[in-house]
């Protein structure tokens, strides 16, 4: 990833200069470097208690649309999903915050059960 980062940084200027082209191929060395710039996309979550915790922790790994895309789930399903994020994916969420996040998800993206 360090190399990737440096490459990205090195190409940043040339990409910026290309203005209306989000794909760049280095001209000096034919087709050797290919770069893209990912668009910044806004997606927001419903207002509600605990939204700040969701924004802080869940966004580390994925955009909020991962949440808003889901069908309504009962609280135990949201709880299982949040615990998977902590146990399997290493989300740095303590017990109190995990309860806040589960409550937020169940209230705003839940089935009411």
């Amino acid at each position: 990833m360090k190399i990737m980062f440096m490459l990205t940084a090195a190409l940043f200027l040339s990409v910026m200069l290309m203005q209306h082209n989000a794909v760049s191929m280095e001209a000096a060395n034919e087709s050797a470097v290919k770069s893209i710039v990912l668009p910044a996309i806004d997606s927001d979550l419903k207002e509600g208690a605990g939204k700040d915790k969701v924004a802080t922790y869940c966004n580390i790994c994925h955009s909020p649309d991962y949440i808003s895309m889901q069908p309504p789930f009962p609280a135990d399903k949201w709880s299982a999903i949040v615990h998977k994020m902590i146990v399997v994916f290493g989300a740095p969420v303590n017990e109190a915050d995990s309860r806040t996040i589960i409550d937020y998800l169940s209230s705003n993206y839940g089935t009411g059960k």
């Binding site: 190399i3 927001d44 790994c61 994925h62």
Partner: protein, 396 residues
């Protein structure tokens, strides 16, 4: 990328800032397809946005009127947020090693020295159609657009492994790409194939799609192509191939991407399977593309019902069509045959003689008799959707 797309994007950004989720009402219809938000990513056309980071983009159905899916319209699905956005081919090397006689470091030029193989194959996400399952399954809420039919070109994996020399006692071949997770504990997206599968003739390291270099979002500079099997194995932006002497069982092989170990790969809706196995070969499915659902048709006017059908590596034997909700079935005609991994386009000419609502259905059967069920075969992850499609149209 044309200017219009930037203005469209800027507009969306503004719309998002004022609460896009709350009110879609004021946004022009042309940035939506099938009621869902469209977005343009680099090298791609406007695709249905499921998620932005990592990106999951779905192909709007109308592209499936074409036999070959254009590169810019092919769906996108990444698992981990750190996806490759820049690759220098002077530095990129595909590393092959593990339980082999020697280690290889192949540049793109080296890769292109192997015999070039080309074929057309359907690429389909395991979760294509997930949003149709009841009860609903967590995950990417795809409709039918997490698939495409693409002509892939590249080097045979077998030829590369042979050059490295597979040692006795090898069991699996493991594939890792350039993507990674944002936290140390996030399991790297790594997939494996059993060795006997990996050395089949038709498994290639593809560096071209439809005669062009891969788009970055579809796995530039090279990806694995496992025709007939779900796209979870088609590891993008390949970095390393490792031959191992025991079954590879890390997260993305187990517990992820598993299906019930039952003949139908299904369990009673809502229940938990006992034993599970890795998902592998695609089942048989078909789709009606034209007319569109809820289309208005005219009495006495001929309609060409058109669709596609494919299965996991066996050619489609027939596609039967019903215009009366499944009471009677007639065989359709096929378009050009692009081989057993491609989808086939089918056509059925119909002249509705009476006014009313009609339910159109299509059912494909492959050369070994695998077909489609009338009721969906449920599994907890929402994989392998292949229920017989049914759409309603109005004749007036």
């Amino acid at each position: 990328m044309k200017d219009i797309n930037f203005s469209r994007r800027d507009f969306l950004r503004t719309a998002g800032a004022v609460g896009l989720a709350a009110a879609f009402g004021g946004i022009p219809a042309d940035i939506f397809a099938e009621g869902r938000r469209l977005y343009k990513f680099p090298e791609k056309t406007d695709l249905i946005l499921l998620t932005s980071r990592p990106p999951q983009l779905e192909t709007p159905l109308h592209y499936f009127k074409e036999l070959i899916t254009p590169n810019e319209a092919l769906f996108v699905r990444w698992h981990l947020a750190n996806i490759p956005t820049s690759v220098d081919l002077n530095k990129w090397r595909l590393m092959i090693g593990g339980n082999t006689d020697k280690a290889l470091e192949l540049s793109m030029d080296d890769l292109k020295k192997f015999e070039k193989v080309s074929f057309t194959a359907v690429i389909q996400c395991s979760g294509n159609g997930r949003s149709f399952f009841e009860p609903r399954a967590a995950g990417g809420q795809w409709q039918n657009g997490a698939m495409g039919n693409v002509t892939w070109s590249g080097a045979r994996l077998k030829d590369i492994l042979t050059q490295a020399g597979i040692k006795a006692g090898s069991v699996d071949v493991v594939f890792d790409g350039l993507d990674s997770g944002p936290l140390p504990k996030v399991p790297d997206f790594v997939k494996s194939l059993p060795l006997d599968k990996a050395v089949e003739d038709d498994i290639i390291i593809a560096y071209e799609m439809n005669g062009e270099p891969l788009t970055m979002l579809n796995g530039f500079p090279a990806r694995l192509v496992v025709p007939g099997w779900y796209a979870t194995y088609w590891v993008k932006a390949l970095r390393e191939i490792t031959v191992v002497s025991k079954t590879y069982e890390e997260f993305w092989m187990n517990p992820a991407y598993r299906i019930p170990d039952t003949p139908c790969a299904c369990v009673a809706p809502g229940s938990k399977p006992g034993k599970s196995v890795p998902i592998t070969r695609m089942n048989t499915r078909s789709l009606i593309i034209e007319p569109a659902a809820a289309a208005s048709l005219k009495v006495g006017r001929t309609v060409d019902i058109m669709g596609l059908a494919f299965s996991g590596g066996y050619s489609i034997k027939d596609v039967t069509v019903s215009v009366d909700g499944g009471n009677t079935w007639r065989e359709s005609r096929f378009g050009k045959d692009m081989g057993k991994y491609s989808w086939i386009q089918w056509y059925y000419t119909w002249k509705p003689e009476k006014k009313g609502k009609y339910t159109l259905m299509a059912r494909a059967t492959n050369s070994i008799g695998e077909s489609q069920p009338f009721e969906s075969l449920w599994n907890p992850s929402g994989y392998m959707w292949n229920k017989i499609e049914s759409i309603d149209v109005n004749v007036a």
